[in-house]
């Protein structure tokens, strides 16, 4: 608890969220980080579809994907699904 936490009379009822999940950076939970081999990646976008946190984005202007490490929890599903084994999970 911090000194900034509000008292029971100040908060909305029923656990109504006072913050958006965008401000809650779940990326710091991760132990392993996905790292992509740009040579092997075919931009098939299967990892984008499989990412349970929506933390891999397709960037049309770049014609490439981008990992959002602020929300990637390092689950490794992308590495597991990648058909060309372009993604590996590195400690840290």
């Amino acid at each position: 608890m911090t000194g900034h936490d509000k008292g029971w009379k100040e908060i909305a009822p029923a656990g109504v969220c006072s913050k958006s999940s965008i401000s809650f950076l779940t990326g710091d939970w991760k132990t392993y980080t996905p790292v992509r081999d740009l040579e092997k990646c075919t931009r098939c976008l299967l990892c984008v579809l499989f990412c349970p946190d929506g933390a891999i984005h397709w960037k049309p202007d770049k014609g490439d994907i981008e990992f959002d490490y602020s929300f990637c929890k390092g689950c490794g599903i992308c590495a597991n699904e990648c058909p060309t084994k372009a993604i590996t999970m590195k400690l840290g």
Partner: protein
């Protein structure tokens, strides 16, 4: 005081009275699953839906857990929501009872009070709702079919009050009330609709930093009740306790406003004091037993015995101050529990009644009678014996057996 409005006398069972009151209360969503002795409520309400007599969305579900989950979800979108259950059905709802009160969803639910298995028993006692007394629901227990009807209508006003926002259970004794035809004075549809009004919503701060009415609405996105850990969970529970305390005055206000239009009131809404002003011995009970007890008290009074009765209409929140004041001069109190708290040294109502007199000096003798389990009939002679026991306690100044089983074969 407004003049009492025109009413229609109908022959209704307790269950039918529940369904009729819900029909008149302009309910948006009903999700329910049938279980004896609540079945008639669901059957009757389905009939209203099938006949086009209500605009209610009736959701057929596969279990009571689903029934209450659907009700909670509907209520969170702002719908007025109703359901009913009993016994094992209420037990199956256990998890969702806490989620519903925690989400501050003002669902109204009728409980046709019934024993819990095993052995299987479909008859009346309070084991089902007493086991849910800490689930964050307001609990009221009716004495007769008329009160069942009146209480369901009042329950919507209490639950939806902005200072309360808690779900309400209205208990009616299985079979004794649920299946017995009684004369019920029913208000007209218009009067009930006006009395319950439309649901109002407090403004709350959302994650987008704006205030919006407290309901799920795509126009004003909001997340209700998802997660609160070590740093906030405790604060939300404290809010629920405050809402319970707030409901004490709301229940009284609704009771008196209802009396103005219908001419009927139930004590102050929280408790009903019967012949207590000068009583020396008194019993405390819930539900339909009070009807017989009043007859017993009348008889004792004719014999010059200063007997009284306190009927707890509202058990959650427990109206501590009102009970202490009503029993202020009573010297011996018998608390009747139609429920057993295994290994708990007495029934649940007894625990709380005795506890509230700890700080009162001098306090009355408080003894316990566990009775009527599984629908066991309790005769007037047995009920009268309670008062005889209390008189003996006063005479001998001694309590030999603080916890007794009334009507049990040894």
């Amino acid at each position: 005081m407004k003049s009492v409005v025109k009413q229609e006398r109908m022959a209704l069972s307790g269950d039918e009275a529940v369904a009729y009151a819900a029909k008149q209360s302009d309910v948006d969503v009903v999700a329910a699953y049938p279980i004896t002795p609540q079945t008639i409520i669901v059957e009757k309400f389905s009939e209203y839906v099938a006949n086009g007599e209500v605009e209610t969305e009736f959701v057929c579900v596969e279990s009571e857990h689903s029934a209450l989950t659907a009700c909670l979800a509907a209520s969170a979108t702002g719908a007025r929501t109703f359901t009913a259950t009993a016994s094992a059905g209420l037990a199956l709802m256990h998890e969702m009872l806490f989620v519903t009160s925690g989400c501050r969803a003002p669902v109204v639910m009728a409980i046709a009070n019934r024993a819990l298995s095993a052995p299987i028993n479909i008859h009346g006692d309070h084991s089902d709702s007493m086991a849910q007394r800490d689930s964050g629901w307001i609990q009221m227990y009716a004495e007769n079919a008329q009160e069942v009807y009146d209480s369901i209508i009042q329950a919507f006003r209490i639950a939806e009050d902005l200072n309360v926002l808690l779900p309400v259970m209205v208990g009616l004794d299985g079979f004794t009330l649920s299946h017995t035809l009684e004369n019920v004075e029913a208000l007209t549809d218009d009067v009930v609709k006006q009395f319950v009004g439309t649901r109002q919503f407090p403004d709350v701060l959302t994650h987008e930093g704006t205030t919006a009415p407290f309901k799920l609405d795509p126009e004003n996105p909001m997340t209700i009740g998802p997660l609160a850990l070590q740093n906030y969970y405790f604060e939300f529970k404290r809010q629920q306790e405050e809402a319970m305390a707030n409901s004490l005055s709301v229940i009284q206000k609704v009771n008196s406003e209802y009396a103005e239009i219908s001419g009927r009131s139930y004590g102050n809404g929280l408790i009903e004091a019967y012949c207590l002003e000068d009583a020396e011995v008194a019993a405390v009970c819930l539900g339909s037993t009070a009807g017989t007890m009043k007859t017993i008290v009348d008889g004792l009074r004719q014999e010059g015995i200063k007997a009284g009765l306190l009927r707890l209409r509202t058990f959650r929140p427990l109206p501590v101050e009102e009970i202490r004041s009503a029993l202020g001069n009573v010297k011996a109190v018998a608390v009747m529990d139609r429920c057993i708290s295994f290994g708990g040294n007495g029934g649940p109502v007894f625990h709380e009644m005795r506890h509230m007199f700890y700080d009162v000096n001098p306090h009355p003798y408080v003894v316990n009678y566990i009775y009527g389990l599984g629908g066991r009939d309790t005769s007037p002679t047995e009920l009268r014996s309670i008062y005889e026991d209390l008189q003996r306690i006063l005479k001998t100044r001694r309590v030999e057996t603080p916890i007794q089983y009334l009507g049990l074969r040894e």
